[in-house]
């Protein structure tokens, strides 16, 4: 990844952060970012879905759960994505569902990222018994299937909102991130520039935040993207099982409702196709963007 080269590290006095090299590096990032087709394509799709989530609901007069018209209508100029068996507007449900997907992704992915990074940095940097303990914790949470534990928790806790659901997802999906951060920290903490920082009297916190984390910033960013996408997928499964908020709108719940109302047998494809396409667009867009980022940060992967 973006490791400071050895000569760089020696040159770094470690007393002040170097403001100079930061600027050319950033413009280099922008330069390669916009030349990278994967990053641009993935990013555009995600941005488009985000725009649809934010602006889409403004374009329709129907509330997502409102019984607004005839049932089981195919897409028309009046109902862009058709209607459900309950006469609800699918388009309205879809754009509102996108909103909850982004909420679950942001909160769930963000929380998982925060826990994963904290545990990873602490374990990797501290070493010793703290590392052993955190490692054990990570491994335990890693082995237990996220959905299994969420089923048992959600069966008991009444999940009222997507925030609650996202927090539950965040609390259980961090382990692989912690493991990755720990391994990176492990290899960075013995570098000269970290030693210099330590000798110059920086606190552990400062060393982690200012010396170690910036050297794996690309890694941290990509980790967040993957956790974001993962949280959306897990959230959709939970909603499909009927463990999410019941009086709400989400892409998973749309699949659940269409499935339970036998949309399959009725052939109302307009009801169950959009939610899946929406999820694939967001998550797939994020993944493709992630590969693009990987190539931007890691010249070895760039296409020749």
């Amino acid at each position: 990844m973006t490791e400071v080269s050895h000569t760089d590290a020696v040159a770094d006095p470690g007393i002040r952060a170097r403001p100079l090299p930061a600027k050319p590096r950033r413009s280099e990032f922008v330069y390669f970012a916009f030349r990278n087709r994967k990053f641009v394509l993935g990013g555009s799709v995600v941005l488009f879905m985000l725009a649809a989530a934010l602006l889409g609901p403004l374009l329709t007069d129907y509330a997502p759960l409102e019984f607004s018209g005839p049932t089981d209508q195919p897409p028309s100029s009046e109902y862009w994505f058709g209607t459900t068996s309950f006469g609800q507007d699918v388009y309205s449900q879809f754009v509102h569902g996108l909103r909850s997907a982004f909420v679950v992704g942001t909160i769930g992915g963000g929380l998982a990222w925060l826990i994963g990074a904290t545990v990873g940095f602490t374990a990797g940097y501290a070493g010793g018994w703290l590392d052993d303990l955190l490692n054990m914790l990570t491994n335990v949470v890693l082995v237990i299937p996220t959905l299994a534990i969420l089923i048992i928790v959600a069966a008991y806790v009444n999940v009222h909102s997507y925030t609650t659901e996202a927090i539950l997802i965040g609390l259980t999906s961090w382990p692989w991130a912690a493991r990755a951060v720990r391994a990176q920290t492990f290899s960075l903490k013995t570098r000269d520039f970290v030693d210099v920082a330590r000798l110059s009297g920086r606190t552990t916190r400062q060393i982690i935040v200012r010396e170690i984390a910036p050297n794996m910033s690309s890694y941290l960013l990509m980790m967040f993207i993957l956790l974001f996408g993962g949280a959306i997928l897990i959230g959709a499964s939970l909603d499909f099982l009927g463990l999410g908020p019941s009086e709400a709108v989400s892409l998973g719940l749309m699949m659940n409702n269409s499935f339970l109302s036998s949309a399959l047998l009725l052939g109302s494809w307009w009801w169950f196709v959009p939610p899946g396409v929406g999820i694939i667009a967001i998550v797939g867009g994020l993944y493709v963007m992630n590969v693009g980022l990987d190539e931007i940060f890691n010249p070895r992967l760039r296409e020749t």
Partner: protein, 329 residues
């Protein structure tokens, strides 16, 4: 090697203990009265509510001190007693789970192994071959971002509802009984192929991407350049790259187990496949808490066993773990 496996085994034992403790603790330490909470969710009639309260108090063992509840829970567990199902009263939960288990395994094991095999081959083929890469990679990304239940719904819609090539639901034709006959096997296969495909395809994408990236890393490694500069044929270089790239993929296999299991649960529901997934849905809808609890324990145990098998396979494949070096994560 023994130490390596021993350490892993310790982790699994701790995991099992934690899982069982969570299982035990959730109804007990959540705010509010667990029985009242269950009853209000079931919207039980007052008359049946009284009976159910009595039943639950006894079933949870709430009438003894908390430490004794915990010990009793473990004791019952070791006797294979997971309680009785409420929605299918009075069938013991272990019986329900065990009768559903073969169907889930019949989906999961082939899906895991075949997708791992095919995905790795596909990824290795695509790496550094522009034409193939340009089709395999985008398709893989779409597949790996697809929710399994949605792929299941699409497959059911296209191949079962519209084209009527395969049946929509169930694990075998309704007029058949499970038996070791050709007729049953064919019917089983016909019902199995769609849910299997949904799981297989989503997992395939992930493996192909992983292997493709690993091969590119390996082909950039010193040893690959060295081999190539000695004049070794590309096929040989790629073969060595494949072997090295396979190790992280096996570690990944252990990590992916949870996701595939979750996928199986939702896909089974789509096809009303009579495995643990459909059992879970029924349990959720009927608020059959003990059944959920029992399925949870079986899932955890299964994933732990699978993890341990993967660890052993890893030791067999990677010689470094055998001579006592630290291998893998």
């Amino acid at each position: 090697m023994i130490r390596y496996l021993g350490r892993k085994l310790l982790i699994y034992l701790v995991t099992f203990w934690v899982a069982v403790t969570i299982d035990w603790a959730i109804p007990r330490f959540m705010p509010g009265d667990p029985i009242e909470r269950l009853l209000s969710r079931m919207q039980a009639q007052p008359a049946s509510a009284d009976a159910l309260t009595g039943y639950y108090t006894q079933a949870f063992g709430f009438d003894v001190p908390i430490w004794q509840q915990y010990l009793n829970f473990w004791a019952a567990l070791f006797q294979g007693d997971l309680g009785r199902s409420i929605s299918n009263f009075p069938t013991p939960i272990s019986e329900l789970v065990i009768s559903a288990l073969p169907y889930t395994l019949a989906l999961l094991i082939p899906a895991i192994l075949l997708s791992f095999w095919a995905g790795n081959k596909l990824g290795a083929l695509a790496a550094r071959r522009k034409r193939l890469d340009n089709t395999v990679l985008p398709v893989s990304y779409v597949l790996t971002a697809t929710p399994q239940m949605w792929l299941g719904i699409m497959l059911a819609w296209i191949f079962a509802s519209s084209l009527a090539i395969f049946p929509v639901s169930g694990a075998y034709a309704l007029d058949l009984q499970p038996a070791w006959s050709l007729e049953f096997a064919l019917s089983f296969l016909e019902h199995w192929i769609l849910p299997f495909s949904a799981l297989f395809l989503v997992a395939l994408g992930g493996w192909a991407i992983g292997m493709r990236n690993m091969i590119i890393y390996e082909l950039e490694a010193e040893y690959s350049h060295y081999l190539a500069s000695l004049g070794a044929p590309t096929r040989l270089v790629r073969k060595y790259a494949y072997r090295n790239a396979l190790l992280p993929q096996i570690t990944g296999l252990a990590l992916a187990l949870g996701a595939v299991t979750a996928g199986a649960i939702v896909v089974e529901i789509v096809f009303s496949y009579p495995g643990l997934g459909s059992l879970t849905l029924g349990a959720i809808q009927n608020r059959d808490y003990f059944l959920i609890q029992g399925i949870f324990l079986f899932l955890i145990t299964g994933v732990l066993i699978a993890n341990f098998i993967i660890d052993i396979a890893y030791v067999l494949i990677d010689p470094r773990t055998r001579v006592g070096m630290q291998g893998g994560a």
